[in-house]
Symmetry: C2
Amino acid sequence: MTTAAKPSSRERLLEAAATLTYRDGVNIGVEALCKAAGVSKRSMYQLFESKDELLAASLEQRASAYVATLLPAAGDGRSPRERILHIFEQVESQSGEPGFQGCRYLAVQIELKDRNHPASRVAHRIKADLTAFFRTEAEAGGASDPDLLARQLSLVFDGASARAGIGADRLAGLVAPTVTTLLDAADMR
Amino acid sequence: MTTAAKPSSRERLLEAAATLTYRDGVNIGVEALCKAAGVSKRSMYQLFESKDELLAASLEQRASAYVATLLPAAGDGRSPRERILHIFEQVESQSGEPGFQGCRYLAVQIELKDRNHPASRVAHRIKADLTAFFRTEAEAGGASDPDLLARQLSLVFDGASARAGIGADRLAGLVAPTVTTLLDAADMR
């Protein structure tokens, strides 16, 4: 295709839900979402059972872009240690972008305060996938305790993005030495 | 005094705001807050300029109890390393309590998404006080880079409480080894 298809109502709603909940929080109203998407409430409810389902679908849809910007390419020839550090370089770099509010998958769970909400379930799974990535690399790099290292890296990931998101830390000179110390302590190659 | 004074309207509003925003989020309505406190909206607005101010005051009021449950007693004779580890033992222990949703001062900032909100300002200051405590202990313990260690400990604190709050990690076997590794790397006594 040489011309981009005009986004459908569904696509515009997903985009509006992702953008507005990230910027304003999960309590953004249906009216505001529909207005931003240029879609009637009636159409929205024909496409999504509820606002909760729209929110869950918008997180799901963002997941592949999220993974692509964060994770190194499969089989890029770098060592597990370098592949892990790559992720934290992305976090540090993203945290300097205007409008950065931390990891959307952490924020949505903190805001919803309901682990059974459909959007919490999606966010939980996407974050568990990141921990699984760390676990795989930790094992490939010969970490002394891959489970522990994967949990530690997930903790640093969330702590770093949360603190940058609220403006408590700018991350420069913090994330790389912290991750390096943990990788060294785990005897990671 | 041998008998506890009946809590005032102001105290009941502060308590309701602290409890309900922690449980349900910052978007809890004024009606719900007044109902829980048994105070009329008219009285609320005589005591607080706005819901935002009530929320800020409730965070402020909780700060001393928060510090007391988290921080070691001044001059308790323990080493700076032990005093730092004490805080993380508290985090791990608190994270197992029913209704735990992570650090309220982190959550409120993530939810409000507005660094100039009066409640964000209070929360930001209380968290900066914790980083300052880490900085003081790091220096007293001869850390090679007290600023870096204080930032690292704050990052672990927020990462740990956030991940426990959303149910992504139970923290057992995670926090103590992570903090110990960072303290060792900083040559902390």
